[in-house]
């Protein structure tokens, strides 16, 4: 087994929800139904157009009760490595792309007595599916959604229409701030908190919740780190006996895949742990950019997550 099962899908709707956010509706090319998924699941989109190439994770934002189509939202990231820009430029109604079977690394905890969902910007997407699921199951939930402004924020009107007073919006340009400390105070025991948004927001929520005495087990988050750019370096693969060059704007995983090797992966964002790779020898500095390995594991220098982490130094040998 290497990569998760791939599915060929066709884009049947491509809508500019905001100037920077494109919503895609995807239906299967050869069957009537896609695999079931639960709120919080993501898929990895794989698309090539000439020399341009994208292989990025996106949360599924459609209803988990509709397996006839998936929906994703792609934010055009200005300083991105070109993946999101490629989708904005070339993926339109009728385009066929490849996606992986859904994987959920951000599931609802069904033991919870109450669910508090906190979204920042494009981090709203997993909550689109989660709210559909929680609403249908009659669960006690509330969504707190922070955006820059009314024009660039996506789906907030739709959500207000669907869930009314359970949706709370906060707009930066109106000086509205998410009242996190007050929100965390006095919630019934067994309340679970979920956060998805920019890294700074996730850090703020995790830290505030911990200081409010919330156990880690009640606080859930999803952050997909985009592989950060860096200097070119070479990777020696001990098992395949090959040396591969990793360019400044690609990850180790992408460079290895381009060379025809298919290591295991699920999230491609440093969160799931699937692409954990043993380091045989590292004469230099491993730049750990993942959220999976513990600090001790990172310091040991014996493992790296090849989807987001890099290397700087004389020689790196991986057990691949």
């Amino acid at each position: 087994m290497s990569a998760p099962a791939e599915i060929r899908v066709r884009v049947t709707e491509a809508e500019a929800v905001t100037p920077a956010i494109k919503r895609l509706k995807l239906v299967p090319v050869t069957s009537n139904a896609l695999p079931d998924f639960s709120g919080g699941a993501h898929t990895v989109v794989h698309y090539t157009d000439g020399p341009r190439h994208v292989r990025n994770p996106y949360s599924l934002m459609g209803s988990p009760f509709d397996s006839s189509a998936y929906q994703i939202s792609v934010l055009r990231v200005p300083d991105s490595r070109g993946g999101s820009a490629l989708i904005h430029d070339s993926v339109n109604e009728g385009t066929e792309i490849t996606i992986t079977s859904p994987i959920n690394l951000f599931p609802i905890d069904r033991r919870a007595r109450r669910h508090i969902l906190i979204a920042g910007g494009i981090g709203i997407t997993p909550f689109m599916a989660m709210t559909a699921q929680l609403d249908r199951e009659g669960a006690d939930f509330q969504l707190h959604y922070a955006m820059r402004c009314r024009d660039t924020g996506a789906y907030w009107k739709v959500l207000q229409g669907l869930y009314g007073h359970r949706v709370h919006t906060y707009f930066d340009d109106s000086n509205q701030t998410l009242p996190l400390t007050r929100l965390l105070d006095g919630q019934p025991l067994g309340t679970h908190l979920y956060v998805c948004g920019p890294a700074g927001m996730i850090d703020w929520v995790l830290k505030t919740a911990r200081h409010a005495g919330w156990p880690d087990e009640n606080v859930h988050y999803e952050r997909f780190a985009a592989p950060p750019p860096g200097n070119t370096f070479a990777v020696e693969l001990a098992k395949s006996k090959r040396t591969i060059e990793v360019g400044p704007r690609e990850s180790v995983l992408e460079a290895i895949e381009a060379a025809g090797i298919e290591p295991q992966f699920l999230c491609r964002g440093g969160a799931c742990g699937q692409c954990e790779t043993a380091v045989v020898c590292a004469d230099g500095t491993l730049q750990h950019n993942d959220h999976y390995l513990s600090d001790d594991e990172k310091a040991s220098g014996k493992k790296m997550m090849i989807c987001v982490s890099r290397f700087e130094g004389a020689r790196l040998v991986l057990d691949l």
Binding site: R111, L184, D185, G190, E217
Partner: protein
């Protein structure tokens, strides 16, 4: 039974949550000793944010009661049995808010009962701080009649409900707060291995 089972619970010991707004400490008998040891390393003001629910079982119950009281917790309740202690715990948990940290110390069946109450209000067992003190006795569920037998210290033993001779396994159910007992002489009735006092 050489490999430890994944379901076999671990009790890493009590440590203080410095951020909890309420430290809800539930202990039984010798478990009070774990709370007194926690007091030696807890930060200042810890017990002013604590409620202690003490189940005074065992011979040294009254000695522990005085010592626990001297920690000056914000609330202190003494209950005579696990059943009454769990009834009180249920009531406290029903109105408790997030920021409450639950601690449990005592015998394994006692901790199991506390975790059952915690589970019922959506608390993950991993967020409860636990310490095993006192007897190694077990609560066993007979896989045949489903009856629970308390205070089992030996294997095999006789099911208090259906009378089968049960071998005690390490297989544990958090939902039941009990280990599993399986008929030991199903192949040849009456052929029973010697009784070992494994859980004194």
């Amino acid at each position: 039974m050489t490999e430890p089972m994944l379901s076999r619970p671990r009790y890493p010991g009590l440590s203080a949550d410095p951020h909890a707004k309420l430290n809800l400490i539930v202990c039984e008998g010798e478990g009070a000793g774990a709370v007194l040891d926690l007091a030696a390393k807890a930060p200042d003001g810890f017990f002013s944010r604590a409620a202690i629910l003490f189940c005074a079982t065992g011979a040294s119950g009254s000695t522990y009661q005085t010592k626990l009281e001297s920690l000056q917790p914000a609330n202190f309740w003494v209950l005579p049995s696990i059943a009454t202690a769990m009834f009180r715990l249920k009531g406290v948990l029903a109105t408790a808010t997030m920021g409450t940290r639950l601690y449990a110390a005592g015998t394994e069946p006692f901790i199991g009962s506390v975790l059952q109450e915690a589970l019922a209000v959506g608390i993950d067992f991993k967020s409860v701080f636990t310490e095993h003190r006192g007897s190694a006795k077990r609560r066993i569920q007979c896989v045949h009649c489903k009856g629970l037998t308390e205070d089992v210290t030996a294997s095999p033993f006789t099911c208090a409900h259906c009378g089968l001779t049960l071998f005690v396994r390490d297989h544990y159910s958090r939902r039941l707060g009990a280990f599993q007992g399986v008929c030991v002489d199903a192949e040849v009735p009456g052929e029973v291995p010697p009784v070992e006092e494994l859980y004194p």
